[in-house]
Amino acid sequence: MHPAPSIILFTTLSGLGFGMLAFLGLDAAPPTGWSALAFLVIAFSLAGGGLLSSAFHLGHPERALKAFTQWRSSWLSREAWAALLAMSAMAPYGAGLVFLDQAWRALGVAGAVLSLAAVFATSMIYLQMRTVPRWNHWSPPALFLGFALAGGALLTGRVTVALWALPLLAVVQIVAWIDQERRETASDTDLATATGLGHVGTVRAFEPPHTGESYLTREMVFQVGRKHALVLKVISVLLFAVIPVVLLLLPFTHFLAVPAAASHLLGALIQRWLFFAEARHVVAQYYGRWDKTGMRRGRRFAR
């Protein structure tokens, strides 16, 4: 799948933001005053900025409000509601913390649950895609929630939680990468089922419908070399888990929190880029480019 920067930014940033909000909402002894304001501004900026960024991905952002209508069936719609409700809950909760020095517990817990629901809904958008075997898998919710929580813990300064969560997330991510690959290999969609011609013999794409690219090939037929992907995976884990953990284990100073968070964010962005770039869409079968998309061995595909 085409790794669109807007979606990568959106899912990564809003995930972090909602993760932060979740921790702020659940915190039995939340920060208040200026300190609360700082955390809330960061969390809302990430969550809201992410949502805003997602709007750039739309062909018609001016119609974005229509996306609230189909909550009964659409995960995207549910995500919109959850995000809206989460922010609606966390805004007064946050105002209580900042201005009144009050923690309205119920509101905070509700906000936290809704924040995680928003992240979960986002992940379900991907999980539901049967057309993308790598996503049609347990991993998107695990990873999206994992990143939200681990990142949220890190960014809200929960060192102990982060020290447990980040290594755990790294393990989940590595297992996910391995199992996603298994899932993709196990996909029973191939050119034979795509064309229904498997009974005649071995089917091979001969001529594409059009000699140039199309929306379909640009959006859903993307390739990344296997070696290249592996290098990126190592870098990603180093950045989102290993380096932050090392930094956190050093004698704590606020000075190191910033590089730890930055490292995590960069790693998360790379992780998210790979989440899209490696995912193969079955429509690539029709173009004879399944084996040339997603993760691909050998030479670069010259077009």
């Binding site: 739309l58 069936s73 719609s77 089922t193 795509a194 419908p209």
Partner: protein, 249 residues
């Protein structure tokens, strides 16, 4: 609206004959022509005369080569457009309800004024049947020419999709696949019509008629009696000729 109807009164769709399609692309441009001038925004072409032209098309023809276990390789031309699935995943993912399946005839449509151009429906479709218009930024897809098939301004015989009307070899058939007595259902039954990617669980309405067996001219020993020699050389041939002509006259 984004929910799928539990039942449609008809299942209108196409039956495409892969034995007959010569890959001429007539249906591609007839579709482009009609749907540019009709339902929704025109099907635009970006960089139309430049290095990377990308236009929206609702129907495209792939070509595949098949190598059977024995005999020469075969080429199959493969038109592909929306299959108007009963369990259309493109409909349920739509956050705005722009994408919907009609109860009356099963046609899957996009209400362009509700489309936010998020592209999720195109991701959800395993067939590549939806394309974002490069200019209007709304999702375009085959409408089964909903503005032709019921159009009272068209003569009755023209109330069929533009691709079907134009197909020079008659490889495209339009009808109600929920009616077992319809011509299209009969064709599917007779010729073993196939469903694309059944494992995706989309329950497509459109069916494809597989190519008839190729390169199976009866073996020579079956045909040998038709070539039993009457003469080995010219002289013998003239003798045979004379005998035969005598018999004829």
């Amino acid at each position: 609206m984004t929910s799928l109807p539990s039942h449609t009164e008809k299942s209108l769709g196409l039956v495409i004959d892969l034995d007959t399609c010569v890959g001429c692309h007539a249906c591609v441009t007839a579709c482009k022509g009609w749907n540019t001038e009709n339902y929704g925004a025109p099907l635009a072409d970006a960089d139309a005369y430049g290095p990377n032209p990308v236009g929206s098309f609702l129907n495209r023809i792939h070509s595949y080569e098949i190598q059977p276990e024995t005999g020469p390789a075969q080429v199959v031309h493969f038109p592909k457009s929306c299959l108007h699935c009963a369990d259309a995943p493109c409909v349920t993912v739509c956050p705005t309800g722009a994408s919907y399946k009609r109860t009356e005839d099963g046609i899957v449509l996009v209400n362009e004024s509700d489309c936010i151009g998020c592209g999720l429906c195109a991701w959800a479709c395993p067939y590549g049947a939806r394309e974002m218009d490069p200019e209007e930024q709304v999702m375009k897809k085959c409408t089964l020419c909903v503005d032709r098939i019921y159009n009272e301004n068209l003569p009755e015989e023209d109330r069929q999709p533009a691709c079907v009307r134009t197909c020079p070899v008659g490889a495209r058939h339009f009808g109600d696949l929920s009616d077992p007595e319809s011509d299209v259902s009969r064709l599917v039954a007779e010729r073993g019509g196939i469903e694309l990617m059944p494992e995706q669980g989309t329950a497509p309405v459109n069916r494809y008629l597989p190519p008839r067996p190729r390169d199976e001219l009866p073996e020579l020993d079956v045909l040998a009696p038709f070539l039993e020699p009457v003469a080995e050389d010219s002289k013998g041939f003239v003798g045979w000729l004379d005998r035969t002509l005598s018999r004829l006259s």
